[in-house]
């Protein structure tokens, strides 16, 4: 299922954070959204999944306009959100976390629920021996896997993830992102918000760069990788060449190889 965001504005109380975001994820596409701390990435996901009400703009899920729906309705409509810092239910067992992940499908056929569970466990076999353990006792990597598996239990058509790599060892980051790649290959649409641009670019089909509540760059990871504004800001090399906000008088870094994209 595709996701289409047009002119999305959102914020907290009187503090606007997003200033007109346009974003598309085609059916079966893995889209990465990168940006520095405070760029509005998490706010974007919160507005997508209905935790935050957008003040303007539209969100379409497939053919349906889902703007303004709460998270419960959106989960039922096919969008699952894997939140920042995983937020597993710590005192509940891994098994119960998965059961609650399928909460919106609780009245659906049991066979479908158990299929979703088998698929999630096939993706993260490490969870299998831990089913009876309290989720709070899992390692950070296992909790991230559980958070993703819990999201998959809702049988989503679009999965959005907030910083799945945060606080994880590089080997685990690779493991998580390759699992996301496999989900995409299985036909799921994914939007991954990341600060770890290198990890996200390794699997993403397309990427957006956000800064101060706006999308400032968009393109394929390979081209973005060689863009000096991205290499300077997000792939190491310091923050000297900060991505400028778009505007008539915004100075652009005159680095060689900048072909004036966007």
């Amino acid at each position: 299922m595709s996701l289409e965001v047009r002119g999305l504005h959102a914020g907290y109380g009187r503090l606007p954070v997003l200033h007109g975001i346009d974003l598309d994820a085609a059916d079966g596409e893995l889209v990465a959204v990168i940006g520095a701390n405070g760029a509005g990435k998490t706010t974007l996901l919160r507005a997508l999944s209905g935790l935050l009400t957008a003040t303007a703009g539209t969100v379409r899920l497939g053919d349906a306009d889902v703007t303004g729906l709460g998270p419960e309705r959106l989960a039922r409509a096919g969008l699952a959100h894997v939140p920042e810092n995983r937020l597993v239910f710590p005192s509940l067992s891994v098994d119960d976390n998965l059961v609650l992940g399928g909460y919106t499908r609780r009245r659906g056929p049991a066979a479908e629920r158990s299929r979703a569970r088998d698929r999630a466990l096939a993706l993260f076999p490490r969870l299998e021996p831990r089913m009876r353990q309290a989720a709070g006792t899992l390692s950070g990597g296992e909790q991230q896997m559980l958070a993703i598996a819990r999201g998959l239990m809702a049988q989503p058509r679009v999965l959005v993830l907030d910083e799945p790599s945060v606080g994880l060892a590089p080997r685990l980051v690779g493991e998580i992102f390759s699992a996301l790649g496999r989900l995409r290959d299985g036909g799921l649409t994914l939007v991954v918000v990341e600060q770890n641009a290198r990890a996200a670019f390794a699997v993403a089909d397309r990427a957006y760069v956000m800064d101060r509540g706006r999308v400032v760059l968009e393109g394929e990871p390979a081209t973005l990788m060689s863009d000096p504004r991205v290499t300077a800001g997000f792939l190491g090399g310091g923050f000297a060449a900060e991505v400028p906000a778009p505007g008539p008088a915004a100075p652009r870094p005159s680095a060689p190889g900048d072909g004036g994209r966007r």
């Binding site: 709460g70 939140p83 937020l87 597993v88 239910f89 710590p90 119960d96 609650l100 919106t104 809702a154």
Partner: protein, 289 residues
């Protein structure tokens, strides 16, 4: 020795009533951070409804069911009218709101049932002697019913999807919403549970301790202290806290002075809040269950 056993037994049955009221505090607090000061009024109202229904000739079990259902409805209506509409509820705001509800319910009970405290006639009157300890059948009934109710509540939270969804709301409200659990429905359900267990406690206590329009104040405070002893977040802690409080009260009344009975709860509360704010049975910084 006989004295001690007698006091222990009386303490346990009284503590079982506190435990039921304490479970109500925990059920609501974990889901929404609301401290429901009307929890004691739930128990008092149930006692009065049962007394007046039984006085009107209704069979005792039917009167008990009527009392519990009435209070369940009152609790649910209270949640929808007073708690649900408030945006950005904090514990402090909840104290003020539920204090208002508690005062209103007291006035209502005074108007309907009059100023005199009454006792429900016991389902099984009489007592028997066991090793020199006089045991009233009603006290056994209190212990048995409270035990079954506490186990049922525990089973609900551990084994059913609805119970697990309430724990999910308590532990990670944001993630609970993301998996599609409605916080509004969870809050309503928590008030329903609190209303039912509180009412059962009130009906059970009525034959022994008498019920009047003001009884809710002491019952509610004792229940709150019991819940706090357990850290305010665990059903098991609330039950243990209730039993402990009941036993300590009776030992104090028996060995020191009956006048000090009601002081025990507040002395305990101060000691626990200063020494172990997370409750005597709770681990520090334990997740809210």
């Amino acid at each position: 020795m006989t004295d001690l056993l007698q006091l222990l037994f009386a303490g346990l049955s009284q503590g079982a009533v506190y435990a039921l009221i304490a479970i109500g505090f925990v059920a609501i607090f974990t889901v929404s951070g609301v401290i429901n000061l009307a929890q004691g009024e739930f128990a008092a109202l149930a006692g009065l409804v049962a007394i007046s229904a039984a006085g009107g000739g209704m069979l005792l079990p039917a009167a008990a069911v009527l009392a519990v259902s009435t209070v369940a409805i009152v609790a649910v209506v209270m949640e929808r009218l007073v708690i649900f509409p408030v945006r950005g509820m904090t514990t402090l705001v909840s104290l003020i709101l539920t204090l208002g509800v508690s005062t209103g319910l007291k006035a209502l009970m005074l108007l309907i049932y009059g100023p005199d405290a009454k006792g429900l006639e016991p389902l099984f009157p009489g007592a028997f002697d066991l090793a020199g300890v006089s045991i009233r059948y009603q006290e056994l009934l209190i212990l048995a019913v409270a035990g079954v109710v506490a186990l049922a509540v525990y089973w609900f939270y551990e084994k059913t999807l609805a119970g697990k969804s309430l724990r999910a709301c308590a532990e990670q409200p944001v993630a609970a919403r993301l998996v599609g659990i409605s916080l509004s429905r969870a809050s309503l359900l928590s008030f329903l549970i609190a209303g039912c267990v509180g009412a059962i406690g009130g009906v059970l206590a009525s034959p022994i301790y008498f019920t009047g329009w003001e009884s809710g104040l002491t019952l509610g405070l004792k229940g709150f202290v019991a819940a706090t002893l357990g850290g305010l977040v665990s059903v098991r802690g609330a039950v243990l806290g209730g039993l402990l409080l009941g036993v300590l009260e009776n030992l104090t009344a028996g060995y020191i002075s009956t006048g000090l009975r009601d002081a025990v709860a507040f002395f305990l509360l101060i000691v626990v809040l200063v020494a172990r704010p997370s409750g005597i049975f709770g681990r520090h910084a334990e997740a809210r269950v």
